[in-house]
């Protein structure tokens, strides 16, 4: 909560994007999260990315479930479409929305509880189907809304605010996604916008399911000493495996001469992402390397960050179902629903 809403005054040197919108136009309501919540920083990074990409707010849909994380869709792009679903069902609702209207940009915001506990099955199948969406997983390792119980992403040995250590194995969303065939897998930190913003932009431009696991500290229940998802711990332990630089379509790509390790991935919309492995041997296009690296970091107690794996050749939900290019929502009724005669003809084929 805040004592007041944001005054409508802006700095005179703030700029507008190609749509003539300022960053303010991508903002939403005032956050009611705890002061210092990592989720608010993720919101700010999303706003910055939307603004930089000239994303028209009325062509986007914000999807969420239940939890602190799922409240945040109210805090950006107040002019967009949106759906706040029941707990854990955001991936299914988004799949349906995407099936009906493939032309919108889908931004799903979820948390470790919403995605890795109650909604685990939902998320798994959205990954399998390669639903074209940005999937932001705001990961703080606790159930903040119910006062700080360990969540499914809490690391073994991580201590609760009262001092008890977690003994159950965590679910790592990146490893899970890699095994399920995810085509865009990244991890970042709410406290590092320099890394986070280009990854969000690349995820939005990716054709398929783009998962970004964002360590987003819970300032009320998981920012103490002994926590493995605190601001201080994440800063100390994060290892940037791949540095990503998003290059929009209209900008020329210039590769630094001294860096043969830079690989350029062309994204669906024509823009590109330049990936530079900070560790020379890392190949962000190889699913097995990605898996091994994340596991290796995990065993060393490190947090692997960056855009870890991307496969732009994979087919998404619509490609696999061979749907028409026109969004179903825009098809004339007669085409979408050809009537009883057509149904009878179809049924006759199975008799």
């Amino acid at each position: 909560m805040s004592s007041i809403t944001k005054p409508p005054i802006r700095h005179p040197s703030l700029q507008k994007n190609a749509l003539g919108l300022s960053k303010q136009d991508y903002e939403g309501g005032m956050s009611t999260l705890c002061a210092g919540c990592g989720h608010d920083s993720v919101t700010a990074a999303l706003i910055q990315a939307f603004w930089e990409l000239d994303l028209p707010p009325h062509r986007a849909a914000k999807m969420s479930g239940i939890g602190c994380s799922s409240k945040t869709t109210g805090y950006f792009m107040k002019q967009s479409h949106g759906f706040n679903s029941v707990h854990g069902r955001m991936p299914s609702v988004t799949s349906g929305a995407n099936a009906a209207n493939r032309d919108l940009t889908y931004i799903g915001v979820s948390g470790d509880g919403d995605s890795l506990s109650i909604g685990l099955g939902q998320m798994a199948h959205a990954i399998r189907r390669n639903v074209n969406m940005l999937y932001v997983l705001e990961n703080n390792g606790v159930y903040g809304l119910t006062k700080g119980q360990f969540s499914a992403s809490a690391d073994v040995g991580s201590k609760s605010k009262k001092g008890e250590a977690n003994e159950q194995n965590p679910i790592d969303p990146l490893l899970l996604a890699l095994t399920l065939g995810a085509t865009f897998v990244a991890r970042s930190f709410s406290g590092d916008k320099q890394q986070l913003i280009p990854i969000i932009k690349a995820g939005l431009a990716h054709h398929g399911f783009a998962l970004i696991d964002i360590i987003s500290p819970c300032v009320s229940f998981n920012d103490h000493e002994g926590s493995t998802k605190s601001y201080a711990h994440t800063r100390a332990q994060s290892v940037e495996l791949v540095e990503a630089d998003f290059v929009p379509l209209r900008r020329e790509i210039r590769l630094p001469a001294q860096h043969p390790a830079v690989s350029v991935v062309k994204l669906h919309d024509g823009s590109s992402v330049c990936l530079r492995a900070t560790d020379g041997s890392y190949d962000p296009n190889d699913r097995d390397t990605a898996y091994q690296h994340v596991r290796a970091c995990q065993s060393r107690g490190e947090v692997a960050t960056g855009l870890l794996f991307v496969d732009e050749a994979a087919r998404d939900l619509h490609d696999m179902n061979r749907t028409v290019a026109t969004p179903l929502a825009e098809l004339p009724f007669e085409v979408l629903c050809p009537g009883k005669g057509a149904l009878d003809t179809l049924m006759a084929r199975y008799r």
């Binding site: 909560m1 805040s2 004592s3 007041i4 944001k6 005054p7 409508p8 005054i9 802006r10 700095h11 005179p12 040197s13 703030l14 956050s31 705890c34 002061a35 210092g36 919540c37 990592g38 608010d40 920083s41 919101t43 700010a44 709410s190 406290g191 916008k193 500290p217 300032v219 920012d223 601001y231 201080a232 800063r235």
Partner: protein, 591 residues
């Protein structure tokens, strides 16, 4: 860039733009808040500590605070500070028992003040409560100086002047009215411990062009305004030309309209952006039907049969050559008129100060006066107000008085006048609880209040009809809410910061940035959340933040002091703290 030193009162003082711009450093935000609360007495007394004449200045001040006001940078128009000051003065109750008083036991030091204008009265105001025996020499029969004789009553009612001068005189100053000081030597011989010259710049400048002395209807503004004040002049002819476009010219043209003139023109050599008159005075004059003519240089008076019939002007065109304004004459025109009033400036004159007293004078016959101490080359003799460095406005005269009083006090007790007491500050947290602050931190989008004026037909009935009617209590309460409370400082404790970005993200005006501190300030200003392009405004740089060794940077330019950064800070690294400048005065560290 080195970290900002906020322990030095200078930094936070500069953030309070109005207080910084005011020569007397009046605590504007606090007295405005008191007006908003209806605490007019408290507001008046706070105001009086520094500017001594709130009722007078609330009507006549040149308002250096208003162009500086931060509100003007975020919302076009600044807070109507000056006229709010008047509200406190108009609506106050009897505050006489709360005014400083002179002790019964005097301290044995005698001080002579020459002239009873604003600067001398300020010296008296500061020295009388310390037990000084203060004698004021005034050639007229009432105190006030230029404020009384040159500011017409339709702008400043006599009763306001009487009251505020009276507060000081009644503290026990010995008033020698109707006494002209003809000899400094004789005055010093009377054995005063210190002498203060606050005699103003009482002579209107003259214009020596052909015809100047050939007709009686050519007047100088200051003398003419005084004559009107004393009732020696009660009417003027129909067509009047005023030469000059300062505030005296504005008073002359509007006074002319009240004495029977119907066709009044103010003629200026240059174009409007160079006019010295305050914009609101120009506005009022034009509203009353005064015509303002630009780019006309006086050439000669046109006299026929010993009578003034017109004035000839050269029409000028101005251009910029090598960064300097140059004029070329287009042609000449004659503007017919019955009277001309010269209002082209004021001169000082010190024929009464003997040149062998050790009081050094410059080539231009102005005394050599120290800018800080106000001391002349003869210790014990001080100058202030317009007498020191030529004409300035009233609020500068008041500040001169305060500074000279400090020097006189130091001098009288044998201390070094250059060893001035340093200003201090208090910084008190405004936090009352979770999301509760001791001030109203929300932004009020109201437009600047407009002043109600007396109807034009009523105005010209007599000289004493005050034109501005003042703000109503409702109007002033709303106008106070426009103030951004710049004295509620954003105070940062770097060691508490966990770099969660909450403040950076929530700041409505993108003032905050967490970044590396590795480049010169000009480059740093460019790479902030919003480039800090207003170089007159400071940027704050913190010490190194604990986790990443980056720094917090704040651009002060358009900070709304809304407190959202402190509201959203999980560790109270940001706090809103009320800044109070502790300004030293004679004999007191601060008050």
């Amino acid at each position: 860039m080195p970290p900002t030193d906020v322990a030095n009162p200078r930094y936070y003082h500069k953030v309070v733009d109005c207080q910084w711009a005011c020569p007397a450093h009046t605590n504007v935000p606090q007295y405005l808040r008191l007006i908003g609360l209806g605490r007019y007495d408290d507001s008046y007394l706070l105001n009086r500590q520094s500017n001594v004449f709130p009722g007078i200045l609330g009507r006549t001040c040149d308002r250096p605070c208003e162009p500086a006001c931060r509100r003007g940078r975020v919302d076009e128009k600044p807070v109507a500070i000056c006229r709010l000051k008047r509200v406190a003065a108009d609506l106050r109750g009897d505050i006489t028992d709360r005014l400083p008083k002179a002790p019964a036991q005097k301290n044995g030091k005698r001080v002579a003040l020459i002239g009873a204008g604003p600067s001398s009265l300020t010296v008296a105001n500061d020295l009388l409560p310390l037990g000084y025996d203060v004698t004021i020499y005034e050639r007229h029969t009432k105190p006030g100086g230029l404020m009384r004789f040159n500011i017409p009553a339709f702008r400043l009612p006599e009763q306001v002047l009487d009251e505020e001068c009276g507060y000081i005189v009644d503290m026990g100053a010995t008033m020698k009215y109707g006494t002209t000081v003809d000899s400094m030597k004789a005055l010093i011989a009377e054995g005063y411990d210190a002498v203060y010259v606050g005699s103003g710049a009482p002579r209107g400048k003259d214009l020596e062009i052909p015809g100047r002395w050939d007709a009686p209807a050519i007047l100088t503004g200051m003398e003419w305004l005084s004559s009107v004040h004393f009732g020696h002049v009660q009417k003027i002819d129909k067509r009047v030309i005023i030469i000059g476009v300062g505030n005296t010219a504005m008073d002359c043209c509007r006074t002319s309209l009240r004495l029977g003139a119907t066709d009044v023109k103010v003629v200026a050599r240059r174009s409007r952006e160079f006019f010295k008159a305050s914009p609101w005075e120009l506005e009022d004059a034009e509203h009353e039907g005064v015509q303002i003519i630009e780019n006309h240089a006086p050439k000669q008076f046109v006299i026929e049969n010993g009578r003034l019939v017109g004035m000839e002007f050269e029409r000028l065109q101005w251009s910029t050559v090598d960064g300097r304004q140059k004029s070329t004459v287009l042609d000449t025109v004659v503007i017919p008129c019955d009277a001309v009033i010269l209002a082209i400036g004021q001169d000082n004159a010190f024929p009464w100060i003997e040149r062998d007293l050790g009081i050094e004078f410059s080539d231009t016959q102005m005394p050599v006066v120290d800018k800080v101490t106000h001391q002349s080359s003869r210790p014990g003799v001080y100058f202030g107000g317009d007498a020191a460095w030529g004409p300035q406005n009233i609020i500068w005269a008041v500040e001169h008085g305060h500074q000279a009083a400090i020097s006189i006090h130091l001098h009288c007790w044998g201390r070094d006048v250059t060893a001035r007491p340093a200003p201090g500050m208090t910084l008190v947290s405004a936090k009352l609880g979770l999301h509760a602050w001791s001030y109203n931190n929300d932004y009020n989008p109201s437009p600047r209040a407009t002043m109600q004026h007396e109807a034009l037909v009523r105005r010209f009935e007599s000289m004493n009809v005050e034109v501005e009617l003042g703000f109503t209590p409702e109007q002033s309460a709303r106008e106070v809410e426009r103030c951004l409370n710049c004295d509620l400082e954003t105070h940062f404790a770097a060691d508490l910061c966990i770099e969660c970005d909450a403040c950076v993200d929530v700041c409505p005006t993108s003032c905050l940035t967490i970044t590396q501190n590795h480049s010169p300030v000009d480059e740093l200003r460019q790479r902030l959340s919003a480039p800090a392009l207003n170089a007159t405004q400071e940027i704050y740089v913190s010490t190194l933040l604990p986790q990443t060794k980056r720094v917090m940077v704040k651009d002060e330019d358009v900070c709304l002091h809304c407190g959202l950064c402190a509201d959203r800070c999980p560790t109270a690294a940001w706090d809103m703290r009320q800044f109070d400048l502790l300004k030293p005065y004679a004999g007191v560290e601060h008050r």
